[in-house]
C-alpha cells in the first residue's frame, strides 16, 4: 500500500502517453495537461507526506493549513507557463486549467478510494467524485481565469498572481475544513455552486445579449 500512488500513476499515465501520438493538436494539448495534472498530484502527495511527518502526523492541521498552499501553487505553475509562453485566448486557458484540475483530482480520488476500501459506499464515491474532484478543477480554473487578465500587464502580473494563489489556497482550505467537520455537506455544496456560477453566468449573459439583439432586429 505504501507505493500505491506510484502504481496507479504508472497504470494511468502510459496509455494516455501513447494516446498523445494519435491525437490532433488541441485534443493532444488537453490530454497533455491532464497528464500534467496527474503528475502534479503525485508530486504534491510526496511533498504533503513530508509536511505531515513534520507536523507529527497531524493530518487535520496539515490539510487545513499547509497542503492547500502547496497544491494550489504547483497546479498554477503549468498554467502560468502556458499563459506566458503561448499567450492563449481566455477559453483555451480556462479549459487547460480545468483539465489540469481534473487530472489532479483523478489520481487523488483513486488513491483515496483504494486507501479507504473498508468504508467505501456509493455515496462516498459520488461525493468524492463530484465534490472533491470538482473543487480541484474549480480552484485551478479560477486561477486560470485570473491569470488571463493579469498576465497582459507586467505591473499587474506579480501582485495579481500572488493574490490569486492566496485566494485559491484559502478557498481550498475552507473546503477542507468544512468536509472534515460535522457540516461536511456545506463543503460539498461549495464547489458545485462555484462551478454553476462560473459556467452559468457567462452563458446567461450571452443568452441575454442574444435576446436583446433579436429584439433590436
Amino acid at each position: 500500500m505504501e507505493f500505491i500512488s506510484y502504481f496507479i500513476f504508472i497504470c494511468m499515465i502510459f496509455p494516455m502517453c501513447l494516446m498523445l501520438f494519435i491525437l490532433d493538436k488541441k485534443p493532444r494539448l488537453l490530454v497533455g495537461y491532464l497528464l500534467v495534472g496527474i503528475y502534479v498530484c503525485l508530486f504534491c502527495s510526496e511533498l504533503n507526506g513530508i509536511i505531515v511527518s513534520h507536523l507529527h502526523n497531524d493530518f487535520t492541521l496539515a490539510t487545513t493549513t499547509y497542503t492547500p498552499v502547496v497544491e494550489e501553487f504547483f497546479k498554477a505553475l503549468p498554467i502560468l507557463y502556458y499563459a506566458f509562453v503561448y499567450k492563449p485566448d481566455r477559453r483555451t486557458l480556462m479549459m487547460l486549467a480545468f483539465v489540469l484540475g481534473v487530472g489532479f483530482a483523478m489520481l487523488e480520488n483513486m488513491v483515496y478510494v483504494i486507501r479507504n476500501l473498508d468504508s467505501l459506499s456509493f455515496g462516498f464515491a459520488l461525493t468524492r467524485g463530484l465534490c472533491a474532484g470538482l473543487m480541484h478543477s474549480v480552484c485551478t480554473m479560477m486561477v486560470g481565469m485570473g491569470i488571463f487578465f493579469v498576465h497582459k500587464k507586467r505591473k499587474l502580473f506579480i501582485c495579481g498572481t500572488t493574490a490569486l494563489l492566496g485566494f485559491a489556497a484559502t478557498y481550498h482550505a475552507v473546503f477542507n475544513i468544512l468536509v472534515q467537520s460535522e457540516y461536511f455537506w456545506v463543503g460539498y455544496i461549495i464547489p458545485s455552486l462555484t462551478y454553476v456560477c462560473i459556467i452559468g453566468i457567462p452563458y446567461a449573459k450571452k443568452s441575454k445579449k442574444t435576446a436583446e439583439n433579436n429584439i433590436i432586429k
Partner: protein, 220 residues
C-alpha cells in the same frame, strides 16, 4: 466566536456578494472586479479563521491560511491601484512631488502599528514574522490609495470620482492591519473596537467603488 466577529463575516460576505451581483448584472471594469476579489479574499480569511477555530478547534501558530488570504486581499487592492490606475493618474512630474510625499503618511502609520506590535506584542516570534510578512502589501497599497485620494484631478474627472473610494480603502487597510494586530492582544477591548471599525469600513468599500465607477462611465 463573538457576535462582532459573526457580524464582520456576514458583512464581508454581503459586500462581496453585492459586488459579484453588480459584476454579473452589469459590465464591470477590471478595477472594480479587483476590489471585489479583495473583498472576497477578506471574507474567506474571516471565514477560514472562524471555521478553523470553531469547528475543528485548531489555532495554528505562525503560518495561517487566513493570513495568506488577507495578504491576497491587500495584493488585489494594490494591483487595482498600482497596476491599473497609477499610470493614468501620476505622470511623475516634479510639481506633484508634495502629493507623493504626503501619501507616505499612510504607510508610515501601518509601519508604526506593526513596529509597536513587534516590540510590545506578546505573540510568538513566528506569529510576529508571519503577521509582518502578510501585512507588507498593505503598506504599499495604502500609499497608492492615499496618493489617488489626494492627487489633483487635472482633466478627466476620474480621480475625483474615485476619491471617496480611495479614502475608504486607506481606512480599510489601516483598520484591517489594526484588527490583525489586536487579535493577539490580551482582552477584547481593542479587538472589539477594531472589529466595529472594520465592519463600518467594509460596508462602504463596494458602494463607494461602484459610485466612482458609475460616475466615471458618465464622464466618458
Amino acid at each position: 466566536m463573538g457576535i462582532l466577529q459573526i457580524i464582520l463575516v456576514i458583512v464581508l460576505i454581503g459586500t462581496a456578494g453585492y459586488g459579484l451581483f453588480v459584476c454579473v448584472t452589469d459590465k464591470a471594469p477590471m478595477y472594480f472586479q479587483m476590489v471585489i476579489c479583495a473583498m472576497l479574499s477578506c471574507a474567506f480569511s474571516a471565514i477560514d479563521s472562524s471555521l478553523l477555530y470553531s469547528l475543528l478547534g485548531i489555532y495554528p501558530v505562525g503560518f495561517k491560511i487566513s493570513g495568506l488570504s488577507m495578504f491576497a486581499s491587500f495584493m488585489f487592492i494594490l494591483s487595482a491601484n498600482y497596476g491599473s490606475m497609477d499610470n493614468v493618474i501620476d505622470e511623475h512630474r516634479k510639481e506633484e512631488r508634495k502629493y507623493r510625499l504626503i501619501s507616505l503618511l499612510a504607510p508610515a502609520v501601518i509601519i508604526l502599528e506593526l513596529s509597536l506590535f513587534a516590540v510590545l506584542g506578546k505573540a510568538s516570534i513566528a506569529d510576529k514574522i508571519f503577521l509582518a510578512v502578510t501585512n507588507i502589501p498593505a503598506i504599499f497599497a495604502s500609499y497608492f490609495n492615499l496618493k489617488h485620494a489626494i492627487f489633483p484631478d487635472f482633466s478627466i474627472g476620474f480621480v475625483k470620482s474615485m476619491r471617496p473610494y480611495n479614502v475608504v480603502a486607506v481606512l480599510f487597510l489601516l483598520f484591517t492591519v489594526f484588527l490583525n494586530i489586536t487579535s493577539f492582544f490580551e482582552g477584547y477591548t481593542f479587538y472589539n473596537i477594531a472589529t466595529v471599525l472594520c465592519i463600518l469600513v467594509d460596508l462602504l468599500m463596494v458602494p463607494t467603488c461602484k459610485y466612482g465607477i458609475d460616475k466615471r462611465k458618465k464622464i466618458f
